[in-house]
Amino acid sequence: MAEKILEVSDLCVSYECARKTPFEKKKSIQVLKEVSFSMEKGEILGLVGESGSGKTTLARAILGMIPYEGTIIKTIENPQMVFQDPYGSLNPSKKVGWILEEPLRLKGGYTDEERHEKVVAMLHMVGLDEKFMDRYPRQLSGGQRQRVCIAGALMLEPKLLIADEPVSALDVTIQAQILELLQRIHKEMDLSIIFISHDLRVVYQMCDTVMIMKDGQIVERGTVEEVYFNHKSEYTGNLLQSAGIDINS
């Protein structure tokens, strides 16, 4: 039995709706309804669900970026996140070197040389090199940008990475390269990954376990084989069917 790195129980998140007039009653939408699950060290967990099912909200709650009710126990430090759109998620007026050094600067305790060395090492890790340090994000291709985003998330050597649709904005060939990169850093850096996606094929290829979400609740949770070949819920069956993966019939 591997060590648990994340335990979420009875997690609820609700957003307040914007009021049209000041006289309206405050309304709120519950985005996550009593979500509970746990995650083991070294696991790649696929998080699947249609848009609006609460996947990203769950990720942001785990990172502590939004207020929530319930408990989230993390035994690892500073989990990091990679976002869907590699075009928008890098500051256009900063050079790649600056962007990658930022987490180290914020943490503090590194000399300039140490920071530089770490950035160069990380660029090599994600399949780029030190030439990229002096470039601006707009000078990079989509795949290169996503590599920079991943490098930025890994700078402080987190033990948990949340990748929110990391490949859905990329070309198919680039997708494969980025997935390969994620699998490599998973092995080399002893990293657990929560892989958010709506692409069931990619999840099958990438993940050990899957969690299916619908309307802020977890519908199904199990290993890839269990969920894909022996699912219990009808919703999972529909999802697999509409993705063209109709294994049961």
Binding site: L63, Q80, S89, N91, L106
Partner: protein, 313 residues
């Protein structure tokens, strides 16, 4: 540096086009300068002699070349109505208009940037809403009306300055600046209101971009996200606006100089237009467009420094 050089060359070409256009326009509008100098009773022989002497029988482009060359040397011709050198008339008016514009510009920046950032940080708060409403009203003010109100409030009621009591900068520089603060405020106010609104919405829309989310997820504080990430990008459209506003202020000062009876470029422009004193009108137009062009060039160069994307391309 290459980028700045390009901007300087563009400016020189534009200046050439503007002066050529101004010269040709006045060449055709103004009629015969020799007749207007000698009066209608002069004999045709005398007019013809003066025309020859002034070089008016030469081809137009040659005349332009001579005029432009003299202009560069600082000789802008002789005023018809005052019979004195235009250069002398214009030279001591330029510092007045330039000081007025610079004061107005500084006021606009000092008012707009902190208020813009403050309202963007506190969107929907009470102060944000109050500033929003005041802004809407001020933006609708034409500067001359703001000028009249300022004369009323600061001049007549609070007695902070004497309306019409302009002090020449050659006599008392601080008195001069002290007087110009109020007209500058009138010019700055509507532009500052626009700049506040623009900066506020620019910061807000910039804050919604994904890189801001990334910056938070890296562990930046709200303050660090605003000052290290958002502000620089959000300022880019504001700098464009400030540049255009500054160019506009130079032109806008013409009216304010009338309201506050300040003897600047605008003042002599208006008097010489009504006197049909074309050499003076031309000189003032060229001075004003030169100021506007220099301002635009400086703004473009600053713009390239702030936004590396521009100088790359």
């Amino acid at each position: 540096m290459k980028y700045a050089g390009k901007k300087v060359i563009t400016m020189i070409i534009t200046l050439f086009a503007v002066t050529l256009f101004v010269f040709l326009a006045f060449h055709f509008i103004s009629g015969d300068p020799a007749t207007s100098m000698l009066g209608t009773e002069a004999t045709p022989e005398r007019v013809e002699a003066l025309r020859e002497e002034m070089g008016l029988n030469d081809p137009v482009l040659l005349q332009y070349g001579r005029w432009a060359l003299n202009f560069l040397k600082g000789d802008m011709g002789i005023s018809y109505s005052y019979r004195m050198s235009v250069s002398e008339m214009v030279a001591d008016k330029i510092p007045v208009t330039v000081t007025l514009t610079i004061l107005a510009f500084l006021m606009m920046v000092v008012i707009a940037i902190p208020l813009g950032i403050y309202t963007a940080k506190h969107v929907g708060g009470v102060i944000d809403r109050i500033i929003y409403m005041i802004n809407q009203v001020i933006m609708a003010f034409p500067p001359f009306f703001a000028g009249i109100l300022i004369t009323l409030v600061f001049g007549r009621i609070l007695k902070l300055f004497t309306p019409g009591g302009y002090v020449s900068y050659q006599k008392d520089f601080f008195g001069f600046v002290g007087y110009l603060i109020f007209p500058a405020f009138a010019i700055a106010l509507p532009k500052a209101a626009m700049a506040v609104k623009l900066l506020r919405s620019s910061v807000i829309s910039e804050s919604k971009l994904d890189y801001v989310r990334t910056a938070y997820s890296r562990g930046n504080s709200t303050k660090a996200v605003l000052y290290k990430h958002v502000l620089k990008n959000a300022l880019i459209p504001v700098i464009t606006f400030l540049g255009m506003a500054l160019a506009d202020m130079i032109a806008g000062s013409i009216i304010i100089e009338q309201v506050f009876s300040i003897p600047g470029l605008g003042r002599i422009l208006l008097t010489s237009i009504s006197n049909r004193d074309y050499p003076v009108v031309m000189a003032v137009i060229v001075c004003i467009s030169l100021l506007v062009l220099v301002v635009n060039m400086v703004v473009d160069i600053i713009y390239g420094l702030v936004d590396p994307r521009i100088s790359i391309e």
